[in-house]
């Protein structure tokens, strides 16, 4: 498993918690906006949670064009 894949379960758990959903319904390849029913504004809130959880800083431009949980994990793993 790659470093990014290792991050996915924690990432899904955080996303599920923030938006009050069940992790079992979420998969790495899912479109996070569609699956969580969130907009870009809320995605920024999720990004802040992730920064705190993983103790990294991710500039906003890094997540432009990222729309899956796996893609998000990739961005985080590059900063770890």
């Amino acid at each position: 498993m790659t470093a990014a894949q290792n991050l996915v379960p924690r990432l899904l758990e955080l996303a599920a918690r923030r938006f009050d959903q069940d992790t079992s319904g979420l998969a790495p390849e899912d479109d996070l906006f569609e699956k969580l029913g969130i907009d870009s504004y809320q995605a920024m809130e999720l990004l802040t949670d992730l920064e705190e959880e993983f103790e990294v800083e991710i500039p906003d431009y890094e997540i432009q064009g990222v729309n899956t949980f796996g893609g998000l994990a990739e961005v985080i793993s590059r900063r770890l």
């Binding site: 870009s40 809130e45 990004l47 431009y61």
Partner: protein, 561 residues
């Protein structure tokens, strides 16, 4: 406060501020919850001196252009001031545009120097038509191509030499948020800015101790004026937050003791929602007490704002904004009068104005004496307004303006310039009417106006206002004939495009729809998945959105009411 009449250029005024307010704080920059940078005016001067020197080495001088594509941060204002010191023409470009759009504007402006940040430079695929490029915030070891790392520019150097400019010389080249077509670069002079600043500073002076939170893009006229020229001239502090996320914005508001802020209507709406949610959580008893205090405040501020009194009466609300907020500037799009009223009643005046790039920043502004939520204010001193070709019945016509803030024309485009400038008057393209007290009321853009088969004029902005607050993320009104021209229709009409609709939207929209006069009613709803394309000031790009609708949807996609 520094008085603009004593100066012949923006560069002179800004540089004098650095000397006048030496020990005051010019900048506080937050990165998330951490203070990342703080500069006094003297420290800012040292930075500007060395940047001006580095620009001089690259041949930046009078008439040469310096473009900035950067999110809000001190380096934006430091670079801009250095460019002015060198007598250069500043080209502020919207950092929210797509990379290829930014490159197109740069190809039009052909700057000698582009100052940008790593994220933007990557977005442009590290290519732009600029002789030199400086890039801030690049990670260690990043390959910047031919660009130079901003942070590694020489430190211990002689200050760059100042180049004087006259008031009539060009200060900036600003691209107006035109919808499609060739780039329209507005030529604005030092006189335009200095005259505009004088008009505004008389009504809304900023002073030492004031702290302005800069979140509207600095390339936008409002932030440039009230978040750069204004604070510098008054020795106030400009506060930036590098991660513009809701939580961080709230944190900065509280932490930095913000006194002034410019927002777009969408953000104002988000603030209102938050306040109302808090009220709902507090329970009915607390709400009744709160309402009583609001009523007291309303009575006490009928003639003018009284910050201190409002703050003590309505402490919890004010504390949510840091407890020091004096006023919000709002512009860029139509502001719902009820929303502006809501904030004023809480003791937070929302200053509404009206302007366009072709007239620098604003032509009219609500001077809060007394507060009026229903108009975009009175013309500023020195601004003349005329309503031309007015409709006999409604008084609505096209707004024309004569003012020292009116631009010189579009760069290299005499034909377009001749269309909007006539004998010193600017044809704004906006429709409105003046009331007996001289307040301007806007009804829409003339190019957006829809003429019904019955000959009635309809303004989509007006109908959108009537649907404000419905349970959806975004809503825009179009005429079917505009989106799908030439398609034979039996029932041409208006329809609402909605994005992010909640389940009860249709019912609620129908309710409101019934209250509108016949000819203003929408006949259907089109659900749309993508966020609406918007300009830097968050105005919906109607022509672009119409193009997307034309491409991806059809008349059959409209759900009839």
């Amino acid at each position: 406060m520094i008085h603009p009449d004593a100066y012949s250029s923006l560069g002179e005024l800004l540089y004098d501020a650095l000397l006048t307010y030496k020990s005051e704080t010019a900048f506080v920059e937050y990165n998330r919850k951490r203070e990342a940078r703080r500069l006094s005016y003297l420290e800012a001067k040292r930075e500007i001196d060395r940047l001006a020197r580095a620009m001089q080495e690259l041949g930046v001088c009078a008439g040469e252009r310096v473009a900035i594509v950067m999110s809000n941060q001190p380096n934006w204002l430091l670079s801009a001031t250095a460019a002015f010191v060198r007598g250069a023409v500043l080209v502020p470009i919207d950092y929210k545009l797509k990379g290829d759009e930014q490159r197109a504007l740069l190809a039009h402006a052909k700057p000698r120097l582009l100052v940008t940040e790593y994220g933007e430079w990557r977005k442009m695929e590290q290519q732009a038509e600029a002789t030199h490029v400086w890039v801030t915030d690049a990670p260690e070891g990043a390959d910047l191509g031919a660009a130079v790392r901003f942070e590694s520019l020489p430190r211990e150097v002689e200050p760059g030499e100042h180049i004087a400019r006259a008031r009539s010389d060009q200060a900036t080249l600003v691209y107006s948020s035109g919808t499609g077509g060739d780039p329209k670069g507005c030529v604005l002079t030092h006189e335009n800015y200095l005259a505009q600043f004088r008009m505004l500073s008389d009504i809304f002076p900023m002073e030492v101790g004031d702290r302005y939170f800069s979140i509207l893009p600095t390339n936008h006229a409002i932030d440039f004026m009230v978040g750069f020229v204004g604070p510098f001239a008054g020795g106030a502090t400009v506060v930036h937050q590098r991660a513009l996320r809701p939580e961080m914005v709230n944190h900065t508001l509280r932490k930095a003791g913000i006194t002034h802020m410019a927002v777009v209507p969408l953000l104002l709406e988000a603030f209102e929602r938050r306040i109302r949610e808090k009220q709902d959580e507090a329970g009915p008893m607390a709400k009744r007490l709160f309402d009583a205090l609001v009523n007291l405040n309303v009575r006490a501020t009928l003639d003018k704002p009284r910050h201190r009194l409002s703050r003590s009466l309505l402490k919890p609300v004010h504390d949510a904004f840091g407890g020091t907020l004096k006023m919000l500037f709002c512009g860029g799009a139509f502001v719902d009068p009820a929303r502006a009223r809501f904030f004023y009643d809480l003791g937070i005046p929302v200053v509404i104005g009206y302007g366009l790039t072709e007239a620098c920043t604003v032509l009219t502004v609500n001077d809060l004496a007394p507060f009026r939520a229903d108009s975009v204010g009175r013309p500023l001193e020195g601004v003349e307004l005329e309503i031309r070709t007015a409709d006999d019945e409604s008084g609505i016509g096209e707004v024309w303006a004569k003012s020292p803030t009116v631009f010189d024309g579009y760069l290299g485009d005499p034909a377009q310039t001749a269309e909007v400038l006539h004998d010193g008057w600017l044809k704004t393209g906006d429709l409105g009417w003046l009331d007996p007290s001289g307040h301007l009321h806007l009804v829409g853009r003339s190019k957006n106006m829809i003429v019904t088969p019955g000959g009635k004029n309809i303004y989509p902005e007006d109908i959108e206002g009537a649907f404000d607050g419905l349970p959806c993320e975004e809503l825009a009104i179009f005429a079917t004939g505009y989106v799908w021209p030439g398609v034979a229709l039996t029932d041409e009409g208006l329809f609402a495009v909605v994005q992010g609709a909640e389940r009860d939207l249709k019912a609620k929209l129908e309710q409101r729809n019934k209250r509108l006069p016949d000819f203003k009613r929408v006949t259907g709803i089109l659900s749309w998945d993508d966020e609406f394309p918007r300009t830097a000031s968050m105005k919906v790009k109607r022509a672009v959105l119409a193009g997307e609708l034309r491409e991806k949807a059809s008349l059959d996609s409209i759900v009839r009411l």
